[in-house]
Symmetry: C2
Amino acid sequence: MKKAITIVDVARLAGVSRTTASDALNNNGRVSEPTRMMVERAASALGYRPNAAAQSLRTATKGAIGIHLPEVMTRIDYYLQIVYGALEEAARQQINVTLITSQRLFGGHRPPVDGVILLDPLAHDTSATQLMDLDVPVVTLEPADGADQAGVVSADHEAGVRELLDHFVAQGASTPALLASPRSTNWGTRVQTAYRQWCREHGKRPFVTERTFGSDSATLAEAARELLSLDESIDAVLCGPDGSALVVMDVIQDSGRSPGADVQIAALVDNPALAYVDPPVTAIDLAPRPAGAHCVELLLGILRGERAPDEVVPLEIEVQYRASTRD
Amino acid sequence: MKKAITIVDVARLAGVSRTTASDALNNNGRVSEPTRMMVERAASALGYRPNAAAQSLRTATKGAIGIHLPEVMTRIDYYLQIVYGALEEAARQQINVTLITSQRLFGGHRPPVDGVILLDPLAHDTSATQLMDLDVPVVTLEPADGADQAGVVSADHEAGVRELLDHFVAQGASTPALLASPRSTNWGTRVQTAYRQWCREHGKRPFVTERTFGSDSATLAEAARELLSLDESIDAVLCGPDGSALVVMDVIQDSGRSPGADVQIAALVDNPALAYVDPPVTAIDLAPRPAGAHCVELLLGILRGERAPDEVVPLEIEVQYRASTRD
DNA sequence: GGTGCTATTCGGATCGTTCCGGCATAGAGT
DNA sequence: ACTCTATGCCGGAACGATCCGAATAGCACC
């Protein structure tokens, strides 16, 4: 149990006072350049790590941010990627991350965080509003209903949907249908709206079936059959729910047609499995890792007062073209 | 920005000194019962929450524990459940949880935690040993190779495997086979060993195929076909890798046989999907939530010196009998 | 009544950091 | 020469809790 190095040790080695050392390390502009360098050299020579607890105590900050995972873990892998991206960025900025689950909020438990990130909040999720009451800055991934005063990281899902639909047509499809996720999230709503809008613009009739988040394969298969039976001429399917693309491929195969050749398939949420099935499925890469990183970056920026508390940060997403829309 | 309630406020309301208030709340045995109650009443009346930073500073603890997620997220849902269980228990005990990923360990970054939990560590994962170097108590879920001085939460997987195999036989099977996960985790090893041991005891020839963690469906399907072709008389399959049970069912169906009736199926890791497919699949519920909770409980116990640093806590797991082994 | 003991309470001191005001010193302005 | 300001540095004080040793009181016992 060796004793840790404090700022006093650094100050002594640099030949200055505690205060000066602190000012130097925090770039407070109250020290001259030469001494600042001295102190910095001393600090790194000793391997000085500021004591987080003391810092928190003095500055009345927590040194941690929270990430709220939605109640229903649709797209588990997607969320996990986001969390990983966030962890990476947070580690870079020396900030801790605590996961906040909805249960933890009950009983008025207040997690010790300086700000929170809300992932793709459900429309009527009470925990979201509860978090806003925490009185700390909030960043949401995709806009949330009740969150006016929140920073937002948002992707242009409409563009993604249109790009896929245009691609379907370019590959010879005439009637694209949509197996949709419900409109209880911002994403679900925007996907459906974009699809309908595109149909209107192109003078096509929209075909949509919808299933709740977290539906199992059987339900999705039934939805797929229902969708395909809506119209004989459907020759392309946009798949929203996680895992639905594989199910749809199955259903198409069962009906004696060939996925990719007879009926094109594309998924709205990419996922490692989609690249390895036969045929590989075209999908939108929602860039979960960068998404998580952007959220952290924005939140910390807001906390430091460097960025507006309602700034909107665009997130680049990209269609991954694969064989399911090429044959 | 309302001011927070400190222990001084509590003390004032209770009519005692801050020291006494502190002693009362921490059950130090130095205060009389009546005053202890007074203080406690005052604290809860004011809604007092101790300042974590101040506590950390004084007691030289971090007030947080880390959970290390394995590199390859096999069984994603399973791990997530564990994390949730851990979060719950930690919240109950007023302790924070930080996720530790392998990347975060590079560059000598030392997460500010009082102890760490290692989930089902891979045999040759360097991050595990790196964590042990952190010089804080460790609890592993399932024993780890290099971790002698660690608390362990462990389930009797052998019993589970034997129970399933006995059940196969009781339901009329003669030749159970094993679709195995590799022996790079303690769990994988023990499953294979238990299966072989059971076969020896029952005078049966073991049939095993193995695929690496994180194999995709195609690979698993190929493994299943390989396994079934090893011997004509195989009439029951134990499925290790996550998701493999569904694939095996598919393969059996393709071969013209009926899963459940002609070939029994059971999974070693339960998962919500298994209850909803047709037929529902018998599986071992590995109790991930309690597992996470036990890990936290044990780790905190060790930190408080109430439990031995190498204590082994048993974890109850239970076979969920379903139709795939009943027809 | 004096002494010793136990039970209970309390007042600094302390953890490591940042912040506020003060104090030199030096240079510029009058 | 004297004041004024800017610059650079420093010494307390504070954040909110815990811990150690001391103080007080009550009580029993000789």
